[in-house]
């Protein structure tokens, strides 16, 4: 009995939470016009969400690309196919690793910070204070952050991929003497702008949507205590990571599955 009771309780709670978060999302979307009219608010948030994640993403991209370069050469050389290194590095970065790894890093760096910030604002009654000044915190606080995440993550993903391809070049061409011409020309002939690069960007836009939504909602919905905020922050990172990987599978099946 106890078992079914707790199952029922958990499913009702998660259903209620899903409902709240959907209402929250639609309220954000309704408020999106506001930060567009206040570029100052938006720029400040792009700074804290995007610019502050730059070095993390850039350095990770470099190393991921270099590792791909090294492993690629080792594996491909057993088939005598080192000249395909460029394809391997670029395809895996542009289609998968770029959007996914930058999204995971973004969830850890920016998502958790967003949750903690909003949660703390709730705890210190700053959100209620705004409400009492007849200023909608959804418009002033939440919407600019949502939009900033939306803009920043695709840019970070593009940076990650570009830097990674460059890292692959360093490892493969400079260190392991793969032919320079083969690296770039094979890459160019195999990577399609619309199918690969645009699809990668669409992926990261969808990831940005998911992460900022989860992060802002967890912060907004957090229990206003220190334990509540730390739990919400953890939830943001864990749930975002799950959602990213799940949606990556679905999107990959949709985008690349039929060709």
């Amino acid at each position: 009995m106890k078992f079914f009771h707790s199952i029922g309780q958990i499913s009702l709670q998660s259903l209620a939470k899903l409902g709240r978060s959907t209402l929250f999302l639609s309220a954000i979307i309704n408020s999106l016009g506001y930060p567009l009219l206040r570029p100052k608010l938006l720029i400040r948030q792009i700074y804290s969400v995007g610019v502050l994640s730059f070095w993390l993403v850039a350095i990770s991209g470099l190393f991921v690309g270099m590792v791909l370069g090294l492993q690629g050469v080792y594996t491909l050389s057993t088939f005598g196919a080192e000249s395909s290194l460029g394809i391997m590095v670029a395809a895996s970065l542009v289609r998968e690793l770029g959007p996914v790894v930058s999204a995971l890093l973004f969830a850890g760096r920016a998502g958790s910070a967003l949750t903690a910030e909003i949660g703390l604002m709730k705890t210190t009654e700053q959100l209620s204070g705004m409400e009492m000044m007849a200023i909608d915190p959804l418009k002033y606080i939440i919407a600019p952050r949502f939009l900033a995440g939306f803009i920043s993550l695709p840019l970070l993903a593009a940076l990650f991929s570009a830097i990674g391809i460059w890292g692959g070049y360093i490892a493969g061409v400079e260190l392991l003497n793969v032919d320079v011409g083969a690296y770039w020309s094979q890459m160019q002939s195999a990577i399609d702008f619309y199918d690969d690069i645009v699809n990668g960007i669409i992926k990261s836009i969808i990831f940005a949507w998911i992460i900022t939504w989860i992060a802002l909602f967890e912060g907004y919905d957090a229990t206003p205590t220190s334990a509540g905020i730390s739990r919400a922050t953890t939830k943001t990172v864990v749930n975002s990571a799950f959602a990213i990987l799940l949606f990556d599978f679905l999107l990959t099946a949709l985008m690349f599955g039929t060709s």
Binding site: I46, L156, A162
Partner: protein
């Protein structure tokens, strides 16, 4: 407010770096610059068998990529395959009696279409069909043919 200016500058740098990255991906990594819709023309060709050819497979002439396959469909009137390909507009002097064959890069590599130029002074235009075609080599057929021949010799 002094800090705000520095913040704006860093956001500006960030956005331009990302734009540069996108530009790099488009120009250096992908075929975006090579094959634009506006600067190309379409040719068609019928093949008896296109096994292994895919959309986006290369079209090359003398080993140089000049275009890509855009569509492969079955032609119910002739019971063969209709292949549409987009050729870069720079290569607009392909003779009209050019022949197309489906070739393989390496023993087991990708299939591509190779064009062998003819000798006429008329050139292929948008929407024209390549008349002379040679189908894909199907490995199984080749092997069975070889076995059959060697069996009939005995």
């Amino acid at each position: 407010m002094m800090q705000y200016k520095a913040l704006e500058i860093s956001v500006g740098l960030f956005v331009s770096a990302a734009m540069a990255a996108l530009f790099f991906l488009a120009m250096q990594v992908s075929n975006f610059n090579a094959l634009q819709n506006t600067n190309s023309y379409t040719l068609t060709a019928h093949f008896d068998n296109v096994s292994g050819l895919k959309t986006k497979s290369l079209v090359s002439m003398a080993g140089v990529p000049i275009g890509r396959v855009t569509e492969i469909s079955f032609d119910p009137e002739n019971y063969d395959a209709l292949v549409k390909m987009r050729i870069d507009a720079r290569y607009n002097t392909i003779p009209s009696d050019t022949s197309a064959s489906i070739l393989t890069a390496g023993l087991l590599g990708e299939k591509y279409i190779g064009l062998t130029p003819g000798g006429l002074d008329e050139f292929l235009q948008e929407g024209d069909a390549i008349e002379l075609t040679q189908s894909a080599l199907v490995l199984e057929k080749l092997i069975s043919q070889f076995l059959f021949q060697s069996a009939s010799k005995d």
